[in-house]
């Protein structure tokens, strides 16, 4: 977990987007789901918005705030749900951030980032579910779970694309 706080405006962006992660986590928490760790991933939206706003340390600090904050809001810090969330968030954050930095905004857009992030998160969670909860039966859960991830990743990517192109707040933070 990163320990050095980012300076001034950057710190404020992390705290503000962290709060949005908590807000979206609360909404997600209220949506009924077949298993507690099977989330739609809407709380990943602030991570996607932050991808061009923050440098790597601050970005992963935001990912840490998202996971720990989710654990506190939903009271799941001591459960497998937290482990699943931690692994899924960091797998998707690493891939999304890495690909955007390596390929650049011209070669990969928010839709691509959203889909890859969602698939990375869901795949990681399926692997953990195989190890801790379902065993071999995880292969039966995988197809609908990955399909749901694909759909939400696509939707989040489209939303993010629309948000960053229209948002005044985003334009100001990007400067």
């Amino acid at each position: 977990m990163p320990s050095m706080p980012p300076p001034g405006k950057e710190r404020d962006t992390v705290a503000l987007l962290g709060a949005f992660c908590l807000f979206l986590s609360t909404i997600e928490y209220m949506i009924p789901k077949p298993l507690p760790f099977m989330r739609l991933g809407i709380a990943n939206l602030p991570l996607m918005i932050a991808i061009d706003l923050l440098p790597a340390p601050a970005y992963f600090l935001l990912a840490a705030i998202k996971t720990v904050g989710q654990g506190l809001v939903s009271g799941s810090l001591f459960s497998y749900v937290f482990l699943f969330s931690l692994a899924g968030t960091f797998a998707s954050a690493l891939l999304m951030f890495g690909l955007r930095r390596v390929l650049g905004s011209t070669r990969i857009g928010f839709v691509g980032i959203g889909v890859i992030g969602a698939l990375a998160s869901n795949l990681t969670q399926i692997l953990l579910a195989r190890a801790f909860v379902f065993g071999e039966s995880a292969k039966y859960v995988a197809p609908p779970f990955l399909a749901a991830g694909l759909a939400t990743g696509l939707a989040l990517g489209l939303f993010c694309e629309s948000f960053v192109s229209r948002s005044e707040w985003y334009a100001r933070r990007l400067r």
Binding site: M1, P2, S3, M4, P5, R11, D12, V14, A15, L16, G18, A19, F20, C21, L22, F23, T26, P32, P34, L35, P36, L61, A64, I65, V68, G69, G71, L72, V73, G75, S76, L77, F78, S79, Y80, V81, F82, F132, V133, F134, G135, E136, S137, A138, Y140, V141, F159, S162, F163, R166, S167, E168, W169, Y170, R172
Partner: protein, 251 residues
């Protein structure tokens, strides 16, 4: 004594500090995770379940049992061990049934333990803890203003909300800078002065910030005597969990 959810929640707040609950949960967790016996693990699960009820946290029995049933059902798909009975081609085997029950108990037991011992007023130490505190303060502000998010213009309304929150923060920072260093660090809009980074050291004595609909209102009275009772209750719960663990090992 009243036993409705609000009264239990208020009692839980006045008896237990967030940090003490966290430590109790941390101490109880290994006794549950490494319990080798299914019946004793089930007893621990019900102990945690009772604690969730006692502190007034939301807990749906239907959701708990449907998740547990789902985990058991998925485990039954891959058969191993003695065949207990069969429905046509589908065989229910002893190994997969017991394995499913054990996994379901573990998943749900840890969720119960978390629900009982993790509160959003828990203050994490250090700069990371301070940053999480700032996020929670913004979160409170978002919850206050969530009505301003318009479903017909989600992008625009979220943008306006972010601009408003940022402007409030800049104004607070400016005021803090004008007031000088004696006024302490800028704690952000609507900040609970006791919840700012400077107040982390005295977290136990500080009032608990309300966290909207997840929330816990500030405990009206939390004297040292009541806190001692709370610590005794927590110690008793942790000891009960470890006693069940020991009984499982030595039976």
């Amino acid at each position: 004594m009243r036993f409705d959810a609000a009264s239990r929640r208020e009692r839980g707040l006045s008896l237990f500090a967030g940090g003490e609950l966290f430590v109790a949960g941390l101490l109880a967790m290994p006794s549950f995770l490494f319990d080798p016996s299914l019946p004793f693990r089930a007893a621990q699960f019900f102990l945690f379940w009772f604690f969730v009820w006692a502190v007034g946290r939301k807990n749906s029995a239907i959701a708990t049992f449907s998740v547990a049933a789902g985990i058991i059902a998925f485990n039954l798909i891959v058969p191993y061990g003695r065949v207990l009975f069969a429905w046509g081609a589908f065989r229910v085997t002893e190994g997969s049934l017991l394995g499913g029950i054990e996994k379901a108990l573990t998943v749900e037991g840890l969720i119960m333990l978390s629900k009982a011992t993790i509160r959003s007023d828990l203050r994490l130490p250090g700069s990371f803890g301070a940053l999480i505190g700032d996020s929670f303060r913004y979160f409170d502000r978002i919850l206050e203003k969530k009505g301003s998010i318009d479903r017909k213009d989600i992008t625009g309304s979220i943008d306006r909300l972010l601009l408003e929150l940022s402007a409030d923060q800049e104004a607070a920072a400016l005021m803090a800078a004008v007031a000088g260093p004696a006024a302490g660090p800028a704690a952000g809009p609507g900040a609970d002065p006791a919840a700012g980074p400077a107040a982390d050291a005295s977290a136990d004595a500080a009032p608990i910030p309300a966290h909207g609909e997840n929330g816990w209102a500030p405990a009206s009275a939390r004297g040292p005597g009541r806190s001692r009772v709370g610590r005794f209750v927590l110690a008793a719960a942790v000891c009960t969990s470890w006693t069940l663990f020991a009984a499982a090992w030595f039976r």
